[in-house]
Structures are given as C-alpha cells and as structure tokens.
C-alpha cells in the first residue's frame, strides 16, 4: 500500500470512529436515566419554566430530531448553548483550550525527556541498583493520583518554600501576553509562553514559565513512568542487536552508540506510545487543572459539573474525543511514514 492510500484508508476509518463517539456521548447525556433538564434543576421547578427551558435548548424535540440537530450543529462548529447562561458552549471551549494545550505540550515534553533519559540510563545498567530504582520510580509515579502529587508540590514549593505560584495561569497583576501586534492586526496563539515571546517580553515569558512549573512537574511526573518502561525494554532489546555490537567493535564511543545508534532505533515504539498517551495526558490534565485552578478545558468541564450544565459537559466531552481521534490519526500517519512496514 502506498503512503497515500494508507492515509486515505486511515482517514476513512477515523470518520466512523468519531461518529460513533459522538453518538455515544449523545446517548449518554439523553438516554441514560435522568433527563438533563430535570437534573439541571436539582429541586422542583415550575413546570412552565422547565418547559420553556427545554424549548429554548431544543430538548423538547423528539430524540431523532435532536440527534440530527446535534450532528448538524457540530458540523458547523456549534456545540449548543450552555444550560447555565445560554451562551455558546463552543466559544467557551475554544477560549479554554489553549491553556490546556500549553499545559499538555510542556507536560508531554517533560514526561518524554525525563522518561526516555531515565529509561536509557536503566537499560545501560540492567539488573543493577540504578536499574531497579528507576523502575521502582516509574511504578510509584504511575500509582500517584496526579492531584495528590499536585497538592504535595503546592505545600512544599508553593507554601513552605514559596518558590512557585500555587495556582492560576498568569500573574493577575500583569497584563496577560498579547502576542504580536502590528497595527490593527494581532497574531496570538493563546499559548502564553509563545505569545509573550511574540510580544517580545522576557518578563512575561519568565512569568508564564513560573506559573507552568508546578502543574507541569505534577502531570509530567505521573506520565513519565510509562516512557521509562517503554524506553528501557526497547533499549534492552536494541542494545543486544548485531549493529550495536558492530558499532562498538568499530570503536565508536559508548555514548554515541547508545544515543545515536540504539536510541534512534528504539524510538519508533516510543512515538506510538506518545500517541496512545495523549488521551491519558488530557485526562490527567483535567485533574491537574482543577488542582492548580488552571483555566483550561478540564477545569471548565469540572466547574460545569457543579452547575449541572449538561450541554457544556456534552460539548467538552465531544471536543476531547475529536481532538484525541485527530491526534491519533496524525501519529499513525507519521508512524507509517517513518516505518513503511506498517502500511502492509
């Protein structure tokens, strides 16, 4: 199969997956016990108000009509209106997502760098004390609830030592990074570290990094265990292969053999792992954002649970699902490009 037809096949497979996912979310919200509108008003409410409320949100239509409306809305980027204030859910989600994305990017980078380095280190001293301690660290880090780790970091580095802020995304006393401004035209990514650089303000860049540190440390640590394990077992296999022995025999420095020769070959499975871990990363971000009052999509979702805002919950869940499906699509294509065997 050529790369092009692989991509076509993979994209075609993504469509039913996303459709299935959208249907599942729709059914969870509508068909499971408890009508969303009734649940929204915890206490008894005037039936007229309830009817008006349902009508305004389109919840009084027959289920199949609601389903078609829902899908049609999604196609035009409309995720419905919030039960709380009838504002468009889509806009709220799009404005919250960059915060989540920034947290996710830095946490993934942290987890991958730390995980791969520790994994390589462990594989180089197989079955010795460093190997065992690194493996143990990987297992323990996996067993820690990310919000507990976050709370511990808040106590130690935020409250006791006072080195880092304990919450929020940016210093409330400074104007948030605006991005590049040229006349009336503005280029902003919503990622504060990038926007502050575009704006040319190193103070703001440092400030956004300071606010990122604890959340990234918490989420990155929890995620790095899987990369340690993955790298370690792949490196153990690769280091035993003939081409590594021959590289050593040619007198190439051990460091170069390990990092330039072996790690390069062990990297493909790690790439797949990144794709698979993206879902775990977003799930972890929900809890991390709640712990650090980080104004991202996860915190949005959690606040909406308290308001019993089911349209917002549905919108956020759908958005998560689509993002994950698209990322796994990209990772698979990248993988097929790097390793042609996959396509067959």
């Amino acid at each position: 199969m050529s790369l092009r037809s692989y991509i076509v096949a993979r994209v075609l497979l993504t469509i039913p997956m996303i459709l299935l996912l959208l249907t599942m979310v729709f059914l969870i919200i509508r068909v499971m016990p408890g009508d969303p509108a009734d649940l929204h008003f915890e206490k008894r409410v005037d039936p007229e108000i309830l009817a008006e409320f349902k009508h305004r949100l389109g919840l009084d239509k027959p289920l199949p009509v609601q389903y078609v409306d829902y899908l049609a809305g999604l196609l035009s980027g409309n995720l419905g209106s919030s039960m709380q204030d009838f504002s468009p859910v889509g806009q709220q989600i799009f404005s919250a997502f960059p915060a989540t994305l920034e947290l996710a990017i830095y946490s993934a980078a942290f987890a991958i760098i730390v995980g791969v380095l520790l994994g390589v280190r462990a594989s180089r001293s197989y079955n010795s004390i460093p190997d065992h301690s690194i493996r143990m660290f990987g297992i323990v880090s996996y067993a820690i609830p990310v919000f507990f780790l976050g709370e511990v970091l808040i106590i130690v580095f935020g409250i006791y030592l006072g080195w880092f802020p304990t919450g929020l995304r940016f210093n409330p006393r400074i104007e948030a990074p605006q991005g590049l401004q040229l006349g009336g035209w503005r280029l902003a990514t919503g990622l504060y570290t990038v926007d502050s650089l575009l704006e040319g303000s190193l103070t703001k860049f440092a400030e956004s990094l300071r606010y990122l540190s604890l959340p990234v440390l918490a989420l990155g640590t929890v995620l790095c265990g899987i990369f340690i394990r993955m790298t370690r077992s792949n490196m153990l296999e690769t280091l035993r292969l003939d081409f590594v022995t021959s590289a050593r025999a040619r007198g190439i420095k051990e460091r170069a053999v390990v990092y330039a020769y072996a790690l390069r070959n062990a990297f493909l499975p790690i790439l797949t792992m990144m794709g698979l871990q993206f879902a775990a990363l977003l799930a972890g971000a929900v809890l991390t954002e709640t712990t650090f009052s980080w104004p991202g999509l996860g915190r949005y979702l959690v606040t909406r649970i308290t308001f019993r805002d089911y349209t917002a919950i549905q919108g956020a869940v759908v958005f998560y699902g689509v993002i994950v499906a698209l990322v796994s699509l990209v990772v698979d294509i990248l993988y097929a490009y790097l390793d042609p065997r996959i396509r067959f």
């Binding site: 039913p16 997956m17 299935l20 996912l21 599942m24 979310v25 969870i28 919200i29 499971m32 016990p33 408890g34 969303p36 649940l39 065992h132 297992i139 323990v140 996996y142 067993a143 820690i144 609830p145 919000f147 507990f148 709370e151 511990v152 808040i154 106590i155 409250i159 006791y160 304990t166 077992s233 153990l236 879902a279 775990a280 977003l282 799930a283 972890g284 929900v286 809890l287 709640t290 712990t291 979702l301 959690v302 649970i305 308290t306 019993r308 089911y310 919950i313 549905q314 956020a316 869940v317 998560y320 699902g321 994950v324 499906a325 796994s328």
Partner: protein
C-alpha cells in the same frame, strides 16, 4: 459450564508459583510485595470497626482549634470538623475498594464474553465490536467516566459502572488478541475435527488459555479503577459527605492547605498511592510469572 472448573484452573496455575515466589527473583518479590500491601489494606478496612479509636464521622473530637496536627491522642491529627484522621484512614478504604471490585467484576462479566464471542466468530461481528471498543479505548478514560457518572448520579454502584464502561475495552483487546492466535492452534483444529461444538471449543479449549492474561489485566486494572475512582471523587462525583473516604478527605482537605494543615491530605493520599501501588506491583509480578515470554 461450571465456573468452579475455571477457578480451579486459576488456583492450580497460581498456587505452585506462590510457593516458589522467592526462587523466581524480582518477579517473585514484586508479586509478594504487592500481595502483602493489598492484603494488609483489605484486612485493615475489614477490621476498621474494631481497631479504630473513634467514630470516623464523629465531629468536634479533641481540643479546638480544628484542624489540629498529629498528637499523642490523635496520631494523624484531626480535620477541619474535628474528626479523627486515624479512624478515617482505617474506615476510608471501604468505598474505594468496593468501587474497584465492582468495576472489575463489570469488566469481567461484560468485556470477556463479548471479546470471546466476537473474536471467535470473526467477520462483521468482530469488526463492528472492535470499532466500538477502539472508539471507547481511544477516549480519555476519566472524561468518559465523568460524563457517565454525572448522568448516573452519586453512589458506589454508579461510580463502579462508569469506571467499568471505560475499562471494558482493555479486557476486550487483550482477550481478542489471545483468541485470534489460539483459535488457529492445532489443538483447537483437532477439537473441531473430532466434532466439538463451537460453544465447547470456546469455553473448554480457548477460555482456560485466556485466563492468565485476564488475571493480569484485571489486577493492573484494579490500580486504574482506584485512581479513576479517586479522580471522580476529586471532581465532585464521589460518594456523599457522610461516608469516610480517602478520596473525599483528599479533595476537601485542599481548602486547608494554605493554613499548612498537611496531615489532612497527606495520610489519605498516601493510602491511595499505597493501594494503587500494591495492585500495580501485584499485576507486574503476575504478568511476568504467568506470561514469562513477555519479559525475559
């Protein structure tokens, strides 16, 4: 089809290995450490009514101000309502263990049979089921569990159901990949040649060979279920206020962090870590003992 037979097989497969755990190096030690941790927490939770010094829900214990740090009378301190943290630790694992056990049972009862049937019969059924399972599997687990739990409302069974749904695909994938390779083996073909019925091939010939992998995935899944249960509690979808629960203490203790009351969250948090760690170690060890081919 007697369930006892399969249970018998699991015991037969696991028991002789436990006796020689110490001879099996690191995997043996890992399994042993995991079992000890898990068993101790189970025993502690069961014994809570007899060993806890106070009623875990009694408020206003000891001298104000609350929360008060660990002292001789209250070794783990008291929380903001003046509840004894030590008693809450003894009692607090119960909800989480119940949720985890029920959710694993849900996965076993739903996921394993679906996987067996779909992958054995193959064709369109297998493709369709795989597509559904892959869609759920690709989803951020906690987010899906949140959506389901938010609709079902609080309660042990509801939490367990929402967690169960999320993890069924993990069981499905493991069982399916095993069945796909096992059903091509000569002994299955032989059984078919002598006229064994499909049902009997599936349950008597294939299922027993799938059991070790199911045991491993279930054990590892316990850890995931516990962490997800803690996460659901953290976002406010846990059990109501009256029940002592580590997840609840960890969630509500956050408000008192700024006053430096570390003990309110430290002990419940460590218990959750320990419990999840116990199951992870047990799963890791079992996976190496039962499927020695996976790791060298």
């Amino acid at each position: 089809m007697a369930g006892g037979e399969h249970r018998g097989r699991i015991v037969v497969q696991v028991l002789p290995r436990i006796a020689s755990l110490r001879k099996r190096g690191l995997a043996g030690w890992t399994t042993l450490a995991g079992s000890v941790i898990v068993a101790s927490i189970f025993v502690m939770t069961l014994a809570a009514p007899w060993i806890s010094p106070h009623d875990p829900t009694a408020i206003g214990l000891g001298k104000p101000p609350h929360p008060s740090p660990p002292s001789a009378d209250f070794p783990m301190g008291t929380n903001h309502l003046g509840m004894d943290m030590l008693s809450r630790i003894f009692w607090g694992g119960s909800t989480m263990l119940q949720v985890a056990v029920i959710s694993v049972i849900v996965c076993l009862v739903v996921g394993v049979p679906i996987a067996l049937l779909a992958s054995y019969s193959g064709g369109i059924l297998d493709k369709a089921t795989s597509l559904v399972m892959d869609s759920i599997y690709a989803f951020p687990g906690l987010v899906l569990a949140i959506a389901i739990a938010a609709m079902l409302g609080p309660g042990v069974v509801n939490m367990a159901l929402s967690i169960g749904v999320v993890y069924i695909p993990s069981y499905f994938r493991v069982v399916r990949s095993q069945v796909l390779s096992i059903k091509e083996l000569p002994y299955v073909e032989a059984a078919r040649t002598i006229g064994a019925r499909d049902r009997s091939i599936l349950f008597r010939y294939i299922l027993p060979n799938v059991v070790p992998s199911v045991v491993v995935i279930a054990t590892i899944n316990f850890a995931d279920a516990i962490l997800t249960a803690a996460g659901l509690t953290f976002v406010g979808l846990g059990i109501s206020v009256g029940t002592p629960d580590w997840g609840w203490d960890l969630t509500w203790g956050r408000q008192y962090l700024t006053t430096g009351s570390w003990w309110i969250i430290a002990f419940p948090g460590l218990m959750i870590v320990l419990l999840a760690l116990g199951f992870t170690l047990l799963g890791e060890g079992l996976s190496e003992l039962l499927n020695p081919r996976l790791e060298e």
